[in-house]
Symmetry: C2
Subunit: 306 residues, 2 copies
């Protein structure tokens, strides 16, 4: 569907890890990239990586403008870019979409030319060293197009994602945000809470190297400011998911403290439901995992249902 | 300290994944292994792997008897093995220790010859295919010896762990159980709760392959019966840790739902404490990671403090 799209020039507003990684992926495909960032250090890092040229007022409109800044800055950046006529089609990369879409519409932006996007990066994006042209290869790239979106604009945004090696996934802002709350935002908060246990205690030391717990803790290494902003942009869905987890864990804690009833049926019940849910989510990938151990290989499909 | 220990024969009661993996590791070191399991299928699997011979009433006492069965069966198995005079020194592998030690003492077992143990297996142990002679290589093997333990018994248990390639870590039952509640038992329950969300819902499907969320979900693939038993054996510490997490997550959920106050400071506060805790736990390993990405290499030490 995107074969006829002309994607020759892309302007990226925000030379952080995501913006610069997109730039490098596009440059590999011979697409011209212009970058803008108020932070001169970020600009210099991107230029040193040959991620593109600095956006100049004399540049003609780009085919696509990517707003690659934190969620709370997206709508103002979109509005400014549209006013300045920086491009034909506009998209962004924020990992929470519902509120941004509502605020963009309320601000009177041209919704036919704005295709809300979310490339799902592999791995950590907290440090500048994480910049990687392969960051989106084979990964989902959500597009929250609506009936207001011009088909040509959706095609252009999809062509951008495809040029980065990603797989386009169309979804509503609400379904997107509920999904991200469950699989990313709440697990990150839980990782932070588990890690916070070690922030202000001291005492005996134990080796825990190589344990799964470190993967859980890795979620706690995120940049607090960026994630605070993101979570606040997905407040309702994150709160709903937190309520769910709190209820489940409270029931188990009560059962464990119960002096009369045997807690084992309650524990086994949760664990059995967990295993059922796990099997529903990973069965597609497990069967075809090249390593045979349930770890997804590059060609495995992974799904979850809601 | 264990150089003078004679470890020629070991009897293993329980031919599950842990028991059979220990057997294979010992056999590699030329140690004679006898196995017993009421489940003939488990016995046959172990024999097919040449993990040892079937324990016979005519066998002389082993240097060490390893009780490798679920937590709730440990004390009865120990008592029976001691009555039958199966060995000189006794140990077990349960991942919760405090209650087993208390019940063993209350049952009048000879605590000078019982050294409570917990080899921390790498990876999943739910399926028979997980049997692996390398399961304990370089991993912690907790020994909960007390002042009642005979030094020669502790040396023998340590020699067994060392023969499996593990690193012996002496610790009290209470510190052990608190540690396991925080880094293993509660994360497993949380994984089960997150996965349970997908057990009985249906609807839109999204790709999530290759995401960290699958590592979280992997905790939900555990055998419900074994883990129900284990968690119930660590009820107090697990409930304490659950209370902590529930409090942390409830504060965040309330902040996100708050209509007056800005939730961002609360979110950033938890995330910042999480990052601090993360850095305290992983700093030792991160600096020396051969991959330079914070992923522990085989020679990295990982610690946490309490």
């Amino acid at each position: 569907m995107v074969e006829d799209v002309n994607l020759s020039t892309v302007t990226i507003l925000g030379a952080g890890v995501i913006g610069t990684s997109i730039a490098l992926a596009l440059r590999r495909n011979g697409i011209g990239v212009r970058l803008s960032d108020p932070d001169s250090a970020a600009r210099q890092r991107a230029l040193a990586l040959e991620a593109g040229t600095v956006l100049s007022p004399a540049d003609p409109p780009a085919d696509v403008v990517v707003v690659a800044c934190p969620p709370s800055a997206v709508v103002a950046a979109l509005a400014g870019a549209m006013r300045a006529g920086l491009g034909t089609v506009y998209t962004d990369v924020a990992s929470a979409k519902e509120r941004i879409v509502a605020e963009a519409a309320a601000a009177g932006l041209d919704m036919s030319r704005y295709v809300p996007g979310h490339p799902v990066a592999a791995g950590d994006i907290a440090a500048p060293a994480a910049v990687d042209a392969e960051m989106f290869a084979g990964r989902p790239w959500f597009l929250c197009a609506s009936t207001e979106s011009a088909p040509a604009a959706v095609d252009a945004a999809a062509a951008l994602a495809t040029a980065c090696g990603a797989r386009v996934q169309r979804v509503t802002p609400k379904a997107h945000d509920r999904h991200m709350a469950g699989v990313s935002h709440v697990p990150r908060l839980i990782g932070a809470a588990l890690a916070a246990r070690f922030a202000d205690v001291d005492g005996e030391r134990f080796p825990v190297r190589g344990s799964r717990f470190h993967t859980t803790l890795a979620d706690a290494a995120a940049a607090p400011a960026l994630w605070g902003d993101t979570l606040e942009h997905n407040a309702d869905h994150v709160a709903d998911e937190l309520d769910w987890i709190v209820r489940e864990l409270s029931v188990v804690a009560d059962a464990l403290r119960g002096t009369e009833a045997n807690p084992v049926p309650e524990l086994e019940g949760l664990l059995a439901r967990g295993r059922l849910g796990h099997d529903r989510v990973v069965r597609h990938g497990r069967a075809r995992s090249p390593r045979g151990d349930g770890v997804p290989g590059p060609e495995d499909e992974w799904f979850w249902t809601w």
